[in-house]
Assembly symmetry: C2
Homo-oligomer: 296 residues x 2
DNA sequence: CTGCCTTACGGGTCCCGTAAGCATC
DNA sequence: GATGCTTACGGGACCCGTAAGGCAG
């Protein structure tokens, strides 16, 4: 008899629909079914009458819903009160984002500020090369990073942003003329080398090491910040793949962004130090989870 | 934030002692420490002031205790009401026990009857050979079996009985004259063969296959029920190891029970079909866990 | 040095997702 | 045939125990 099961029961009691319940709680439909079945087995009573087309509460279920709802309300109230008493409650979270992604994250930041007036969010710009070092050094509390992120000391939270990809190419470049690029094209041009500070697998998720057919993608001149990358591209020495979002708020001279059509969608998720399991971080994660990912 | 952690917090808030809290909840002391530390990390507030010699609630902890206590009371109340509405509540549990073990289990049966007036317990006698088949066939709902029991389809609950062991020998047997036996002695006499119905490892926990020094213990004539075993021993054809409890309520003619001094203590635990996760079974398990094992 | 609480580490359990099954419209 | 609830099965996260560490009397 765990809290999670009670939450599932209460949501289903409200929705009266397994699919919608699963969606709201971000679990699979099968899980809702399993959870309710377990509850009923333990209690020895049917809580819902259901066919494959309709779901309704039994009298016992109706009564249980009232009791449990009251209990969990009280419980959350008490926990919230204790949390509010803590020093961490009014903390200002430093959220590390790439370039202008902060603009698109506006709904999340606004929702967080509205729900937790005591806390605040400050946006810090991060670069691909130091995204991990900044987080580990404590320069930011939470970073918005593209996936996959698989670091033992970091926790990956909900996805907050999804979008396509573009390739930054110099004006007049053949690919600019063509108006689009594929992953296969990357082997024919140099890309910026971000250096060794970020994990190789993570950089590779944005800048592939090889094309789909297996040809190597040449790593060209070294650059660390977003603006360094742009100058290198503008100088005509290389091209570079970026998130679609980079193209949306930048129109740097000498550069054209062309869509990378066959690359899979990028997902950006909240990431924080596993040791920093504080209320403010959890509150942001909860808010993001309930808001769902923003699609570019 | 799970219900188990809340239970730990509430118990510690009452006991103000990690060791006693662990004991009451049947978990390790480390677990209590881990759970409380996690709670405090999540809430960002200290709930207890503690040195290695004293534990006390902080003001925040005191307030949280009141809130949570009220919430969990409400919660259990609601669940109990739903459970009481079920048909399983008034069910009669068939409890399978060896021989006269039911006498010793009286405190458990009485406690269960007092706490769950709607339910009842009926004692069924089982034998070593059919203990598992009876349970699987549904002839009993819960069996009291000596450990270890490791069957994928059976769940092992709390230990209800612990005690020593004896060896049944014919009157006038050299071991009877000596007034005691060791495991090593078993290699010099035949023991009853219980047949293939029960798992080998389980039978071996009562009737070893080999002595500590590695000599084989000869399996003699076959017998299935308790009384068959006693007749075989009385006939002088073999000896047989049993739980101390067998000696306590039996004084069959032609048989003497001598202590098996170097054998480890026997533990008897509740066991039931894993699929039968009903309120009555759970209620009995809960009662047994809170009562603790009965020592012979 | 002895309780008593905390930290480190590994194993087992169970939550949960995927995929297939089955019933109702 | 489509929609929607249930069952089967495998993987991974987390609970929890063991053992060692640290701190007060």
């Amino acid at each position: 008899m765990e809290l999670r099961d009670i939450e599932i029961f209460l949501t289903l009691a409200q929705e009266l629909h397994f699919g919608r319940t699963a969606e709201r709680l971000h679990v699979s439909q099968a899980r809702v079914s399993q959870s309710v079945a377990k509850q009923e087995r333990r209690l020895g009573v049917a809580l819902f009458d259901r066919t494959s087309r309709s779901v309704s509460l039994t009298p016992v279920g109706r009564r249980l819903r009232e009791d449990l709802q009251q209990a969990v309300d009280l419980l959350h109230e008490g926990l919230a009160r204790a949390e509010a008493a803590g020093p961490g409650a009014g903390r200002t979270l430093r959220l590390g984002v790439f370039g202008h992604a902060g603009h698109e994250l506006r709904p999340l930041v606004d929702a967080f500020r509205a729900r937790y007036p005591g806390s605040d969010i400050q946006l810090n710009e991060i670069n691909g090369s130091d995204a991990f070092t900044a987080l580990r050094a404590g320069d930011t509390d939470v970073n918005v990073l593209w996936l996959p992120v698989a670091e033992p000391d970091l926790t990956v939270g909900p996805t907050v942003l999804t979008g396509g990809r573009v390739l930054a190419v110099p004006t007049g470049h053949p690919l600019a003329v063509r108006g689009g690029a594929t992953l296969e094209d990357l082997a024919d041009h140099h890309v910026v080398d971000l250096g060794p500070d970020a994990p190789e697998y993570w950089v590779a998720a944005m800048v592939p090491l090889r094309t789909p057919s297996g040809r190597r993608v040449p790593r060209g001149p070294a650059g660390r910040t977003f603006h360094e990358i742009l100058s290198l591209v503008a100088s005509g020495r290389c091209v570079h793949p970026l998130g679609e979002i980079a193209a949306r708020y930048n129109s740097p001279p000498g550069i054209v962004f062309v869509p990378l059509r066959d690359a899979p969608e990028l997902q950006y998720a909240l990431t924080w130090r596993s040791t920093d399991d504080s209320p403010a971080v959890r509150a942001l994660a909860r808010t993001a989870a309930e808001l769902g990912p923003i699609t570019l």
